[in-house]
Each structure stands twice: as structure tokens, then as C-alpha cells.
């Protein structure tokens, strides 16, 4: 029955190609615009670590100036990072199953002079848990282990581009690399990796690409590595050496993540943080009201306003655009179906039920919806590909399964919504009058 109706629909659509083109264009345009903008928004708003994002938590503590809150719209806003000294204390906790402190720096890479000249590169300082916590993909080797953290061992993880540049893309595990004044052994090479949002560090450049080089964070004091990212402070220190800088407990430049798989652990960790701050208050620090935030990945992405409000506005507008296209479709379908009244009347007179007539017409609308929707998707692929090129920093925008499914769903809904009234009109038309007119 359905197949028969689809055949009739195809026949009817072929009969009036001009009208069909208009119908398809209306749906295709609507789907193209709405898919493009919702995908664009979704690329930034989606869960970058599916299945795990609710267990990975970002830690913030309000160690700001007692005289005034950290600048921001919210009176409860607090520094986005923590200090090196606090991080050292937090690392002692055994509650998290995994934990890592992070910061970004720029260091000099001195490759084999035959291969390349010395150059500066973005380096991520991390603990071993970073790679497992954030599902960082490897093509050769792996991250280092906790033993390497503790010592620290001179090990390094490099990304695919660096591996291609310095080692011609071969398995370079075991090779060495000179960074600043030390020699590091390569233990892992990342697979090509470019998430839309650099979800493990949302401070300044949340849509930047991941770094090229990864080093054990415990080299920070040994190599006097300074943060290349934002650092916030309010207290005035007289700093004469790097050691004194690391001890400055109210200069915030470290990102801190913990993995807490169960609600019990989450509660225990929140208590641990609150107790730590209460204890520090006794030493004259953390003079502001107790204001700590331990937020899971998606909450953190929300707090850092990664999704530009303009993108959300455009997504909303694009859905309205689809609504206008559907309204248009109602008019066009109404005209098309009513022009067919004599033919339908004959069918009805010969015994077709209202239900059958309705089904025939709604199937025709859905056929239009699906073909138009597919065209719209193709168009949208093209537009997004173009947008990826013109976006700054070549931010990748992937169309994922959810987006394809929602586009298919939207086209079906648009086809149905636009078709239901015209189909109902034609099936409730009394056949006798039309027959008399012929």
C-alpha cells in the first residue's frame, strides 16, 4: 500500500516538474539554512567526551581580592584557574581516580640541524593522567606513566604534525628531541587530533588546536617554564626568583581537572576542597566568602561561554526560516492538491476512502520532504565546508550522526506539517460537486 502510494506520488511529482521544483526548493532551502546554523552551534555546544564528560570535573577556588570580586557579570564570579601552590596541595588528594594540572607554554625546539631550524612551539605541561582522562588518541606509543611524573623522566609526547615535520611521519617512539636546554625521549605520537573546542583548557583560545608538544609538568621548576597563557593576580608580590613565583599562592595560571566516577566521590571531593580552603583561611588566605566550584565538563563549557551567543541567535533564526519555508509549502501544496480535485473525486466515487486519499497525499508530501531534505543536506555540507575554510584558525565543523538524524527528522516534520492541512482539505472534499462540474 505504501509502495503503491509512493509510486503514485512519484508519478504526480513528475507530471508537473515546475511545481515539483518549487516544492523541493522550498524544503531544500529551509533544511539547508537550519541544518547549517544548528550544526555550527552544535559543533561548539556538543559533548566533546561522550560517556565520560559527567565524570570529569574542573576545579576552581575563589582566592581573589577580599575588597572586590573577580571581574565578571556575576557577583559570584571567581578566577578561572588556580595557583601553582594550591595545585601542589590538591594533587595530594587520593579521592580522584585520575587528576591532572595543566598549563600552556611556548618553548624552543631544537631539532637535528639537518631537518629543521630551531623554532618556538606551543607546549602543554601535564601529568600522565591527562592522556587517559581526556581520551587523547595515539598513533604510536602512549602517554608516560605516573612513575615518569614523579621523577620526572625526560619524556615527551608529540603530535602528528610535529612527527611529520621532524621524523618524516615514521614511528618516532624512542627518538630524542631537544627542548630548550634538555633532551627528551619520545614516548608517544598523537593521531591527527583537532576537536572543535579545546575542551581541556577553555582559558583564552577555547577553539584553538591542541598543542604540538606534551611534557611532564614536574619539569616546570627544573626548567623554569612560565605560562604562555593567561595568569590572574591581585595581591602584590615582590618576586625575585622563579621559586618565589611558584610560591606566590594567589597568582592563578593552572588548570586543574579531576576524574570522579561516583556521586560519593564527587561529594567527598567537594568536601575536601571546602576543607582545604577553610584550612587556608586560617593562614590568612581565601578571605572572600567560601566560593568553590567543582564542575563537570559540560557545566564548565557552559560557564566559560564557549558557545558564542551570536551562534545561538543564528540557530534560532534559522529554525524560524524553516518555519517560513513550511508555510510557503502549505500554500503551494494546497494549490497543487486542489487543482487535482476532479481526479480525486473520481477516485472517491469509485470507492477510495477518505483515509486512502489522505494517505496518498501525505505520502506525496513526505516524498517531497525527504528528497528536498536530502538536497538541503547536500547544500548544507557544501556551505559548512566553505565556512570551515573562512572561519579563523580553520576550526573544524563536523556534521555528526545526531545532526544528520535531526535533519532527516526536520524534513519529515516539515513535510508532514506542511502537508497535513492540504491533504485533509482534499480528502474531505465532497466528490459529488466536482463530478457534476466535469
Amino acid at each position: 500500500m505504501l509502495l503503491y502510494n509512493i509510486r503514485i506520488a512519484a508519478k504526480s511529482l513528475r507530471r508537473n516538474p515546475y511545481m515539483t521544483a518549487l516544492l523541493l526548493a522550498a524544503i531544500a532551502l529551509g533544511i539547508c539554512v537550519s541544518t547549517t546554523f544548528t550544526t555550527l552551534r552544535h559543533a561548539f555546544a556538543k559533548d566533546p567526551l561522550p560517556g565520560k564528560s559527567s565524570k570529569v570535573f574542573y576545579v576552581r577556588m575563589d582566592n581573589w581580592d577580599p575588597a572586590q570580586p573577580y571581574p565578571g557579570d556575576d557577583p559570584k564570579s571567581l578566577p578561572p584557574q588556580i595557583s601553582y601552590a594550591d595545585m601542589r596541595e590538591l594533587m595530594k588528594s587520593t579521592i580522584p581516580t585520575r587528576q591532572t594540572a595543566l598549563f600552556i607554554s611556548r618553548l624552543f625546539i631544537t631539532p637535528d640541524p639537518k631537518v629543521a631550524k630551531p623554532y618556538q612551539e606551543n607546549v602543554r605541561l601535564a601529568f600522565s593522567d591527562f592522556f587517559t582522562m581526556f581520551d587523547v588518541p595515539f598513533q604510536y606509543g602512549s602517554g608516560w606513566d605516573r612513575k615518569a611524573d614523579a621523577k620526572p623522566e625526560a619524556v615527551v609526547v608529540i603530535d602528528d604534525a610535529t612527527n611529520k615535520k621532524l621524523f618524516a611521519g615514521a614511528n618516532s617512539v624512542g627518538k630524542t628531541l631537544r627542548i630548550d636546554d634538555r633532551v627528551f625521549k619520545v614516548v608517544g605520537v598523537l593521531a591527527p587530533w583537532r576537536p572543535t573546542v579545546r575542551y581541556y583548557d577553555l582559558n583564552g583560545g577555547a577553539v584553538n588546536a591542541p598543542e604540538a608538544i606534551y611534557l611532564p609538568l614536574n619539569f616546570t621548576p627544573l626548567m623554569q617554564i612560565r605560562s604562555g597563557g593567561n595568569s590572574d593576580g591581585w595581591r602584590n608580590y615582590t618576586i625575585n626568583s622563579f621559586e618565589e613565583f611558584l610560591k606566590a599562592a594567589d597568582i592563578d595560571w593552572i588548570q586543574f581537572w579531576v576524574e570522579l566516577p561516583t556521586p560519593e566521590k564527587q561529594q567527598a571531593y567537594r568536601d575536601f576542597i571546602d576543607n582545604y580552603v577553610r584550612d587556608q583561611k586560617k593562614h590568612g588566605r581565601f578571605e572572600r566568602p567560601l566560593n568553590n566550584r567543582v564542575t563537570n565538563l559540560m557545566e564548565t563549557i557552559g560557564d566559560f561561554k564557549v558557545v558564542l551567543p551570536q551562534l545561538s541567535a543564528m540557530a534560532a533564526v534559522s529554525v524560524l526560516f524553516l518555519a517560513v519555508c513550511s508555510l510557503n509549502l502549505v500554500g503551494l501544496l494546497l494549490g497543487k492538491f486542489l487543482a487535482r480535485a476532479p481526479e480525486v473525486s473520481v477516485r472517491r466515487a469509485l470507492g477510495a476512502s477518505r483515509g486512502q486519499v489522505f494517505l496518498q497525499h501525505i505520502v506525496e508530501c513526505e516524498v517531497v520532504g525527504i528528497i528536498g531534505g536530502a538536497l538541503g543536506m547536500l547544500l548544507s555540507f557544501g556551505v559548512l565546508k566553505f565556512l570551515t575554510k573562512v572561519l579563523p584558525g580553520s576550526i573544524p565543523i563536523q556534521i555528526d550522526g545526531t545532526m544528520i538524524l535531526s535533519a532527516v527528522f526536520l524534513s519529515l516534520v516539515a513535510g508532514f506539517v506542511a502537508g497535513v492541512y492540504p491533504a485533509w482539505r482534499i480528502c474531505t472534499m465532497p466528490p459529488a460537486i466536482q463530478l457534476k462540474l466535469q
Binding site: 518549487l22 522550498a26 532551502l29 539554512v33 546554523f37 581580592d65 575588597a67 572586590q68 571581574p71 565578571g72 611556548r106 624552543f108 631544537t110 631550524k117 630551531p118 623554532y119 618556538q120 583564552g204 623554569q224 617554564i225 612560565r226 593567561n230 591581585w234 595581591r235 602584590n236 625575585n240 558564542l308 551567543p309 551570536q310 545561538s312 541567535a313 543564528m314 534560532a316 533564526v317 534559522s318 524560524l320 526560516f321 518555519a323 517560513v324 519555508c325 508555510l327 510557503n328 502549505v330 500554500g331 503551494l332 494546497l334 494549490g335 486542489l338 487543482a339 565556512l387 573562512v390 572561519l391 579563523p392 492541512y421 482539505r425 462540474l437
Partner: protein
């Protein structure tokens, strides 16, 4: 004008009328809100920094040669670099500073009037050595620029004694731009104001875009390198970049040089906004087109449905002109109803966007312009089908009744 009969005729075609009304209302709401967003983005982009952005060049020198590990060596090298830079033909002036316009950030601290109990206010803060005013192209409206004496202090561990503030910061702190000789305190030290500059605008993550003070200091370290802003002769950017590269390398090759025109940094800063503007413009154009098609489609339908009535009216003496007027008037009434509903939809959508997403309040002028645009659009879209209606021959009425 036969408003009554037209209105009664419309009540027989409620669906069609409702469709057009809704379509017009939605269209007005979307178009005006898009225009509102475009204008908002545009106004951000039109904001002037007060600098000669087109001819400014940012130079970063990242040293790797071991002698640069000595801080004093870096500081001394800055002076020779400035001399080298100034001697290059095409270079108007140069300054060693950690201030880079249009990055969307920089460095900041809090300051208050020295000796006061005021809550410190946040301000941008940068240091410089060399010709800051000549390079940026901004003006010293009061006081003086830094003189060599101002640099006579321990630049590695000490604090300068004088600063130059922006007019906006002076007004924020002292409620007056005449602040020469007054003192400010950033918690580290007390500084005497020797100069006031204006204009200054550098978009920052916090609303402190126009507040800044500059201190006299050579800026550079082994870890972060040294940075320069260079103003070149108009149109000489490309050739000057090549000349700088070779002259600076000749003076010391133990470093990596990167140069970025401020134009490029500015264009990067606004690329998101430009994209929003282009996308919104495309949506408006497509939408107006789609709505026009919709009106043509529905009016054509209503014309072909009423072929017999038109024939009858023509047979009873109505002129082509009467028929044309009928359709145009009918559509005008429907469009107007749609626009009235559209005003409500516009403000409704604007309210939702402002409260849930972000954005600025609707300017009524855009609504007015949008209404005129859609009126004209509706009129143009009605004419082809209405003409077809008017050309129906009276003989049609007598056929096959």
C-alpha cells in the same frame, strides 16, 4: 474603493489569508532581528582604536642564543634593535612595548588614587621604550612623553616612578582629565602622572577597553622574547617587512623573528563578527525571496480558483483595472495585517533573544524600514498574478456553468 466586498471575499478564503499573514509576520520578525544583529556587530567593528592600524606592524623577536639568557643583555639589545629599526627606509618610528592592539586582551592590574581609601579600579597596563606616540599615532593631550631620565631605575627588579594615563582612566579616577602631577597606586608602587593620552581603545575581556596606563620600561625576557610595534610609511608594509627581516637578522641571528601587520590581527579579531554579518545578510535575502515566491504562489492559486468569478464580474461591466485593483488591494490588506502581527512577533523574538541568548534591544526604525520593504515586496509579488487575473476574458463566465 470596494473594501467591503474584498473583505467579504477574503473571509471565504481564510486559509490563504492566514498563510500569508503568518508568513509576512515571521518574515518581518526575522528580517528586523537579523538587521538589528548586523548593525550591532557593525557598530563594534566601526569602533576606532585611535591608532594608525593600517600602517602598524607587530614584530616579535624570540631569542634562542644562550647570551639572551642574561636579562641585562636582552634589555641592552632592545636599544640597539630600536636603532636598527629606525634606520630602515620605510620605517617611520618604532617602540619596544608589550602592548599589541586588537588582540582582544593584554595585561591589566588595579589602581587607585595614591593615599586614598578608594576601591581600586581595573585598568590595562603596559610598558614601553621608544616613540610610543609617533608609532601608535595617538596624541599626547597634556604633559610630556617619557624622557631618558624616566628609565633610570633598576629595570629588572624595581618600579618606574612616572606613568602616562589615558584620558578615560584619568576621568574615571579623578573625574577630570587634568591630572598632571597627580599620583596613582597599583599596590606595587606609587607613580606620578606625567602625561595624558587620547584616544585609546583596545577591546579587552573585561569592560576596561579605554582605561590604560603606560610605564617607562624596556620590555623583554628570554622566555617571552622582545616585542616591537613599528609604524611604516603608508603603502610600504610589504617591502618594509622584508627589509626589517634582513636588517634584524644581520644585527643578531640568534633569534626567530615573526612579523604580523596589525591589520591582520584586527581582521582576525573581527572574523567571527564578519561571518555573523554575512550569514545574516544571506538569510535576509533568501527569506525575502522565499516570501515573495510564497505570495506569488498563493495569489496565483487564488486567481485561478476565481477565474469564473472574475469572468462574471468582467461580464457585468468591471474593467481590467477594477480586477487588478481588487487583487492588489486584497493583498495590501493581508500584508498589512501580517505586518501588524509581525510587529508583535518582532518584539517577541527580540525579547526572547535578549533574555535567553544575548543581543541588543530592537530599534523601532528597523521595524519601520522592514515594514516598508515588505509592503513593497508584497506589492511587487502580487502584480504578476493579478495581471493574469485581470486578463481573464468575460467570455469565461458564460462557459460551462
Amino acid at each position: 474603493m470596494p473594501i467591503g466586498p474584498i473583505f467579504r471575499a477574503m473571509t471565504h478564503n481564510r486559509t490563504r489569508v492566514l498563510l500569508i499573514i503568518l508568513e509576512i509576520a515571521f518574515t518581518l520578525a526575522i528580517v528586523t532581528n537579523c538587521v538589528n544583529m548586523i548593525v550591532d556587530e557593525r557598530s563594534k567593528m566601526m569602533k576606532q582604536s585611535g591608532f594608525d592600524d593600517d600602517n602598524l606592524l607587530f614584530l616579535r623577536s624570540a631569542p634562542f642564543a644562550p647570551e639572551f639568557r642574561e636579562q641585562q643583555y636582552i634589555l641592552n639589545h632592545v636599544d640597539s634593535d630600536l636603532r636598527v629599526l629606525r634606520a630602515i627606509p620605510g620605517v617611520k618610528s618604532a617602540v619596544n612595548t608589550n602592548f599589541i592592539p586588537w588582540q582582544g586582551g593584554g595585561s591589566s592590574t588595579t589602581v587607585k588614587i595614591a593615599g586614598s581609601k578608594d576601591v581600586p579600579v581595573r585598568s590595562q597596563v603596559y610598558y614601553n621604550k621608544g616613540d610610543l606616540f609617533g608609532t601608535l599615532g595617538t596624541k599626547l593631550i597634556e604633559g610630556r612623553d617619557f624622557v631618558p631620565n624616566d628609565f633610570d631605575y633598576d629595570q629588572v627588579n624595581g618600579n618606574p616612578k612616572v606613568v602616562i594615563v589615558s584620558k578615560k582612566l584619568a576621568e574615571l579616577l579623578f573625574k577630570t582629565p587634568h591630572v598632571i602631577g597627580r599620583q596613582i597606586d597599583d599596590g606595587q608602587a606609587v607613580y606620578t602622572i606625567v602625561g595624558v593620552l587620547d584616544p585609546f581603545y583596545n577591546p579587552y575581556g573585561w569592560p576596561i577597553h579605554e582605561y590604560v596606563f603606560f610605564g617607562p620600561s624596556t620590555v623583554g625576557s628570554f622566555a617571552r622574547g622582545t616585542r616591537f610595534l613599528i609604524r611604516v610609511e603608508p603603502g610600504a608594509m610589504k617591502s618594509t617587512i622584508a627589509a626589517i627581516e634582513s636588517a634584524m637578522t644581520k644585527s643578531n641571528s640568534g633569534r626567530v623573528l615573526t612579523m604580523t601587520p596589525i591589520d591582520e590581527i584586527k581582521s582576525n579579531f573581527f572574523s567571527g563578527g564578519r561571518l555573523v554579518m554575512k550569514a545574516m545578510t544571506a538569510v535576509i535575502a533568501l527569506l525575502v525571496f522565499v516570501t515573495a515566491l510564497g505570495i506569488i504562489g498563493i495569489t496565483s492559486l487564488s486567481v485561478s480558483e476565481r477565474t469564473k468569478q472574475i469572468g462574471t464580474r468582467r461580464a457585468l461591466g468591471a474593467t481590467r483595472r477594477n480586477i487588478l485593483t481588487h487583487f492588489i488591494l486584497e493583498n495590501w490588506m493581508v500584508t498589512t495585517a501580517g505586518l501588524v502581527l509581525g510587529i508583535a512577533a518582532t518584539y517577541g523574538l527580540n525579547f526572547l533573544l535578549v533574555t535567553h541568548v544575548s543581543g541588543v534591544k530592537m530599534d523601532w526604525r528597523y521595524v519601520a524600514v522592514g515594514m516598508v520593504l515588505l509592503w513593497v515586496n508584497g506589492l511587487i509579488a502580487t502584480i504578476p498574478p493579478a495581471m493574469r487575473g485581470a486578463s481573464v476574458s468575460p467570455a469565461v463566465a458564460t462557459r460551462s456553468v
